[in-house]
Amino acid sequence: MTSDGDHPVVAIGCSWGGLQALSVVLEGLPRDLAAAVVIVQHRAHAPSSLASLLADHTPWPVCEAEDKEPISPGHVYLAPPGYHLLADGGRFALSTEAPVSHSRPSVDVLFESLAQSFGRRVIGVILTGANADGAAGLAEIIRHGGGAVVQSPTSAEKRAMPDAAIASAAGAEVASITEVASVVARLVARVAPENSGTA
């Protein structure tokens, strides 16, 4: 694992229609947040302008993750359409495995592999979405000691994803969309390297 593996990773999952929710969260994150942000939004296998749309809402660089690219703090990475995005040590890994929960990229796949690689230094976030992808992954993050935040179903444009996450991931914090960013920042601070107390 590279030395970049010391920093926390904020992993966000949502499905089509989450653009608005993602924008609100990105705008609310502190500019000096010492974490990488990785987003899985369910997308069709076709080129899209998601990166440039989200770039309007954050000072951080936004790009689609490439295979073997280091996971660096101060960046927003997007799962590319048609691939699963995983973490392998401190780098991204791509896969063309079968869809999970009808989705490729799948939130579960990202969350589960981040839990494996980053352990308690993962903060999983579930936003508005139309299916249960991500619920199992969020539970896995919690099992490894990581943090978990779910957008409140009543504030979500589509509540199926938050509902499923709350049902599967006991211990996840529930927050309205405007509060998610500050909850994430608090959870990141809790596991930031200088606060973790471990080498």
């Binding site: 691939y83 995983l86 392998d88 780098r91 896969s95 495995e97 592999s113 494996q116």
Partner: protein, 284 residues
Amino acid sequence: MTAADTAGADRPDAERESIEIDLLLEGVYRRYGFDFRQYARASLRRRLYRRVALEGLQTVSGLQERLLHDPACMERLLLDLSINVTAMFRDPTFFRVFRTKVVPLLRTYPFIRIWSAGCSSGEETYSLAIVLSEEGLYDRSRIYATDINEAVLHQARQAVFPLEKMQEYTENYLASGGTRSFSEYYTTGYEGARFDRRLSDNIVFARHNLATDGSFNEFQVVICRNVMIYFDTPLQSRVHGLFYESLQRLGVLALGPKESLAFTPHVNDYQVLDLQEKLYRKVS
């Protein structure tokens, strides 16, 4: 110790799992000669657990036992690890740019050799054959399509694809700049869509293991897309060395849309031909 996790010290499950996977891979290598020890661990782990579940087993160690005692199980795992999602003219923009930027370069050669590395069931290979044919280059081309798995190669040689895929493939073909009627290229039979035998004439499907085998020819084009995503960084470097050796000067290397030369030792040996489509030209 592998690079699989550094938090293993306080997570005994993860460390034990890491040991189990290492042992399974070592066992497969020693028993069957398939070397998956340098495959990217995150995706390999998922595929192993999927096989564990499909076999009705509980642990990776249980899978290791069955693999060592039952060659049919090894065949199933091999298929798991060889199958790559693929479609004809998948990523149509790649084929579009191949026509506009690579084909003009190929026209300058009297004889064209192309290596399609990790060809799987041949969809990409036959797509390439169609492009070369439409561009009038097929007769002076030879495509070497290689893969690790003989069963998959056997399937590729049949040139038969599911009928229900033809709509998707037609759309891809058109989006890639194809101007013919795609159905010209196949006949429908009870077994599926059987592609024109003439597309197979200049294709050689052969077994080759990128992890262990050497260079076998010099090529103007090496295509290896969405294969090295399953290799770890050291293995990827080895394979890039192999490709570098196998490419003529000014030859073209084609990677998958989300792969990069940037994290390899050969990044400075190539010039970018098309950054978006990951086409590179060997310059040194």
